[in-house]
Amino acid sequence: MILSEPALPPAVAAPAEGDLVIRACRGDECARDELARRHLRGAFIFALQLVGNRDDAMDIAQDAMLRFFTTLHRFDPARPVRPWLLRIVRNRVYDLHRRQKIRRHDSLDRISEDGRKFEVADLEVDLERDAERAQLRSHLWRSLGELTARQREILVLRDYQDLTYAEIARALDIPMGTVMSRLHAARKHLRRILQKDLDAIG
């Protein structure tokens, strides 16, 4: 199974990512398994943050991982894998939407109508303050669906995935200068949506 933990002795340090990429490129299946183990769940979470439901996210994450391996010969092992893989995920999400000829938030609406929920697990809801924060996280997650695709992806990459501006620029193939302005526009838009929602709730 691709996600199984490797049986490494505790004293052995995990191999560097660049080495894994080189070995995987030569066809080393253990290296591929290790790369998948490290990144498949991250790819899934990013896909989930873009498409909003588990099944699509699993399909996209697996597909992206497979594509990552088939395009590995083009990848520079000196660079980190994550931005490259997230870029593949993002492109697969766009492909999916293009084929379905629907906009991303349309799909989220449909998912809501179907009764499926976003896969958010909140582990800290014991205290009142934490309950409020959990509520904010929940509102925030739902409000993401109302952003444009471009705003949503950049906000997810920064605030959920914690990528640096340079990594975001690489993942989205945009100039560094555009990252800050687009991100700020997304955050302000999200703030407006949340305020509107909270006003409506009263």
Partner: protein
């Protein structure tokens, strides 16, 4: 007044400040504005709390057994595709041959059953799956996504 102060900096620098992406001199300017201007401070605090809420959101990932096995290499993908192709071709050839035998030559019932029984039943089972798959394709939302 707040508006005039805000116009002294590009507002998007607030996000840069929040993310620690500004050079020291610019960060200092933004810090002073946040301290001096309640409107900018409110905007900054709102953005900071949204960022904190996003960063602290935890997502459930599916357990290992929920992930379908996928081919890991081009070789395994090719082997799998080739295996299925050969199987389908073999079944087709055997079925056509058996059908030809059945229609062109007379044989006893046992011989016909022995020749046709296995491939015929496999073809029927395979066809039922194929028909379902084709029917699902028309409405499958995931048909564009490789599994």
């Amino acid at each position: 007044m707040a508006q005039s102060k805000q116009s002294l900096i590009n507002e998007e620098l607030l996000s840069g400040y929040l993310d620690g992406a500004l050079p020291q001199a610019e960060a200092q300017k933004v810090r002073v504005l946040i301290e001096d201007d309640p409107e900018i401070r409110k905007l900054y605090q709102d953005l900071a709390s949204l960022r904190e809420a996003a960063a602290s959101t935890r997502f459930v990932t599916p357990p290992d057994e929920d992930w379908p096995e996928m081919p890991k290499t081009r070789v395994s993908w090719l082997s799998r595709s080739l295996g299925w192709s050969v199987l389908v071709i073999w079944l087709t050839v055997v079925s056509v041959f058996a059908l030809w035998r059945f229609t062109s030559q007379s044989g006893d019932a046992l011989e016909i059953f022995l020749v046709l029984g296995l491939p015929g039943s496999v073809v029927l089972l395979f066809s039922s799956v194929l028909i379902d798959r084709i029917r699902d394709l028309k409405t499958d939302r995931y048909r564009g996504v490789q599994r």
